[in-house]
Symmetry: C2
Subunit: 233 residues, 2 copies
Amino acid sequence: MAVFYGIGVGVGDSKAVTMKGVEALGKIDILYVPTAKKEGKSVAHNIVKDYLKSNLEIKERHFPMNYNQDELNEAWDSIANDIENDVREGKNVGFVTIGDPMVYSTYIYLLKLLKNKINIETIPGITSFLDIASSENFPLVEGENPLIVVPATIGTEKLKKYIKEEVSLVIMKVYKNFHEVIDIIKEEKLEKCSIVVSNSSKEDKKVYTDFENIDEKDISYFTTILINKGWEN
Amino acid sequence: MAVFYGIGVGVGDSKAVTMKGVEALGKIDILYVPTAKKEGKSVAHNIVKDYLKSNLEIKERHFPMNYNQDELNEAWDSIANDIENDVREGKNVGFVTIGDPMVYSTYIYLLKLLKNKINIETIPGITSFLDIASSENFPLVEGENPLIVVPATIGTEKLKKYIKEEVSLVIMKVYKNFHEVIDIIKEEKLEKCSIVVSNSSKEDKKVYTDFENIDEKDISYFTTILINKGWEN
């Protein structure tokens, strides 16, 4: 029976894909590729391009990045419908997603629409925080401490509380309120056990451990801060 | 220059190793293998055995599972010393670790002892919670919610607080206080958005979504509970 594969591909390095992911990419007849802009390039597609069969059918789908919920729902309903039809016709279908499919991924919307309708196999991927921690040799969490992964957009008070109270933190999407987050880290005197990484696994990756000299133009949507109070750079 | 590779190998399925991990396993001259019992089998070694060169030198090292800190320190100092010597002699050395090297891993101790002494390349792996989430098609976290990864051993009050207040949780090492954790989940009426998985990716894996019929003998040291208040089984 045909299968819909949701494949996590990591954040940039094609070698961060698992063997299982590569195997699934070799099995599929059709790959759905999400693009943020109309006719734009897909980061996820680019990561896996060397693993794809030459006769693979690619179906590019535009996902609006604006926040009009109706438009978003329509786009998701439409892609889910197309995937369902392809699988029912006996095609193995793939969908590639940056990082891991179950962690802040748009793939979760597809899963909601398709579960219990067709065979779905989800293949995990290396998240941005796992990628950064290993590439910078920065341990995330040890012993009985919790690991808190939190989007910077959660609000200043909540963010401050987590940073004050927890030992190990991953702060994602540090972009809009970059200064605010940096100020909290400085207030708490956590510079020495923090690291700022933007565009992990990409050519223009930047790593900062010195918080005094961060060049703001390096701070992108894909900026992550790791804090581990039990570790010093 | 020779390199020490710390390689995350996932939790059981050899295909969960990344391409980068497989590549590193092919480069190494010596593999250090941690075993929990004297002359016991190493889970991590077993996962990667198909990726190893036939002439690879295996150095098994016993890691005491008791909690005598002196013995532990001695074992770590000794293995770190051996690895350092091998790398200085020009050998590429590998160390395999279950899950991801930077998340609750013994590899972190080695990193502390060896950083700034030799070249270290850490290669991320699929953690147990990423493995479980994908294999059960159970989304971990969406939107602006934090993801809280917490060992069950943290204490009842703290655990209760996280379960009450947070939307997305991974509870690790649910073993000693299994009943306590289950009781909190029932009190909070979270059974429908929780999943219990023991021995993920192994032959004797058990998955429970029905909390009334959990067979206690299935609950092992490698039992994990995922909770996502935004999801229903």
